[in-house]
């Protein structure tokens, strides 16, 4: 069976672990656990009649004093960037994180999860900004809490990895 390494990349607290937990284990916890290093999970999927195992690398989020090591991203087949719609800094870091991925893994498929879609009253990203981002990237609104968009984001990256488009310029 094909195995594909998918890295979850974003600022700390954006919801990377919660998205993986919801997708792999159908679980959600309100309690925040900071990921240390990399947590690894697997999920078998079928994409266009092709069985595939997604090996999900839940990489510790970028912190003010700690960059994401490029060594974790190297060898990835795809990346899911996670943006927290309620925290602007998670959005502002996206270009730098994309640069890191580009230099470490080359032009691999990417998708942006716009997370915490279930609490629009707390969003700080405007509709215009979201539209601007969506013009450049494949974006999907997600909620690890309700499950909205979760299956979709992983299916989307899996399909993209079969076709192998690259990071937008």
């Amino acid at each position: 069976m094909i195995q594909k390494k998918v890295c979850m990349i974003g600022v700390f607290g954006a919801g990377k672990t919660s998205l993986v937990q919801q997708y792999v284990h159908s679980k959600f916890s309100e309690k925040y656990h900071s990921t240390v290093g990399v947590k690894i999970d697997r999920k078998s999927v079928e994409v266009e009649a092709e069985p595939m195992t997604l090996v999900l690398w839940d990489v510790a989020g970028k912190e003010a004093d700690e960059d994401i090591p490029a060594s974790y991203v190297r060898g990835s087949h795809g990346v899911i960037f996670v943006v927290d719609l309620t925290r602007r800094e998670t959005w502002e870091e996206l270009p730098a994180l994309a640069g890191l991925v580009q230099s470490a893994a080359g032009a691999i498929p990417t998708v942006v999860a716009l997370n915490k879609a279930d609490i629009p009253e707390q969003w700080v990203i405007s509709a215009d900004e979201e539209q601007h981002l969506s013009a450049q990237w494949t974006t999907i609104q997600t909620s690890a809490k309700t499950g909205q968009g979760v299956e979709d984001i992983f299916q989307t990256i899996a399909r993209a990895m079969l076709k192998k488009p690259g990071i937008p310029e």
Binding site: Q3, K5, K27, S29, E30, K31, H33, V36, G37, V38, K39, I40, D41, V55, P69, S71, Y72, R74, G75, S76
Partner: protein, 276 residues
């Protein structure tokens, strides 16, 4: 046990029965896996000097905390540790490639070793009234990357620049209830659920969690059974690991701290220091 120098790290391990238990059901192991090109005979003009020959080394560290009375716990932790060492010793291709794709295969082999250990513990305990089980927290250090497999409530942590980070999450009922919002962390710490495993090698459920971390020079990496963490705070562990001591002195001090705190359980500690 004497301190082991491995290319890139020095490591020491210690285990103690504690002050209350009559038997030590903890097991720990530190083992090196080595592949070396050693030139024996040649007529090559440019024969590589021995020191430059490619050497692949891996360092296995594990702690297993057996549970179950009448020798069962000790048998379970012994069986788990022995099975893993035997499997990894024969898995010849497990660490001789350093490319990114090898990570996926490598993690699969580590996970497989834990499933074999689980099957071994289950089979040896098939006739037991109360089947024994064991926790298992292990790390395989290849170059600076530590690959982790974790089952139960032993722990892995590391100290970098004075900051202690815990790499594992306890697989206990207390953690599950906190996650579900049924208990606060304070309530969970006081409850008996803290010691109730929801995943164990040999248990009715065994769900290994996998992870890795890239360590840096001077990082200190620690594995321990809960005989340490139930008596010694993370702050104290950080303070001991922050001392300019040998890894042996650190292990002994932490063991002594656990005993001074009550020593109600067996305690096992492995500490590795990454060399510069």
């Amino acid at each position: 046990m004497s301190t082991t120098e491995f290319s890139g790290a020095e490591v020491f391990g210690i285990s103690d029965v504690g002050l209350v238990r009559t038997q030590n059901e903890d097991r720990f192991a530190v083992a090196s896996l080595r592949k070396t090109l050693t030139l024996l005979h040649s007529n090559l003009d440019d024969a590589p000097p021995r020191d430059d020959a490619p050497v692949f080394e891996a360092l296995l560290m594990l702690v297993a905390d057996g549970v179950g009375g009448n020798d069962g716990g000790a048998e379970a932790s012994t069986a788990a540790a022995s099975t893993i060492m035997s499997y990894l010793g024969s898995a010849t291709n497990c660490f001789n490639r350093m490319d990114a794709d090898a990570d996926l295969e490598f993690m699969g082999q580590l996970e497989e070793s834990v499933h074999l250990a689980h099957a071994q513990v289950v089979s040896t305990a098939a006739d037991s009234h109360r089947p024994p089980a064991t926790t298992l927290t292990m790390a395989l250090l290849v170059a600076a990357r530590a690959y982790l497999v974790h089952v139960g409530d032993s722990r892995a942590m590391y100290l970098r620049n004075g900051r202690l980070r815990v790499l594992t999450r306890d697989q206990t009922m207390a953690e599950e209830l906190v996650d579900a919002g049924a208990l606060t962390e304070e309530q969970a710490m006081r409850s008996t659920f803290t010691h109730q495993l929801v995943s164990a090698v040999g248990g009715s459920n065994m769900t290994p969690s996998l992870g890795l971390i890239d360590l840096r020079p001077h990082d200190l990496f620690l594995l321990c059974s809960d005989g340490l963490t139930k008596h010694v705070t993370d702050e104290r562990i950080a303070a001991v690991l922050g001392q300019p001591w040998t890894v042996e002195q650190m292990c002994i001090q932490l063991r002594d701290d656990a005993l001074a705190g009550g020593g109600t359980d067996n305690v096992s500690i492995v500490v590795a220091r990454m060399l510069g």
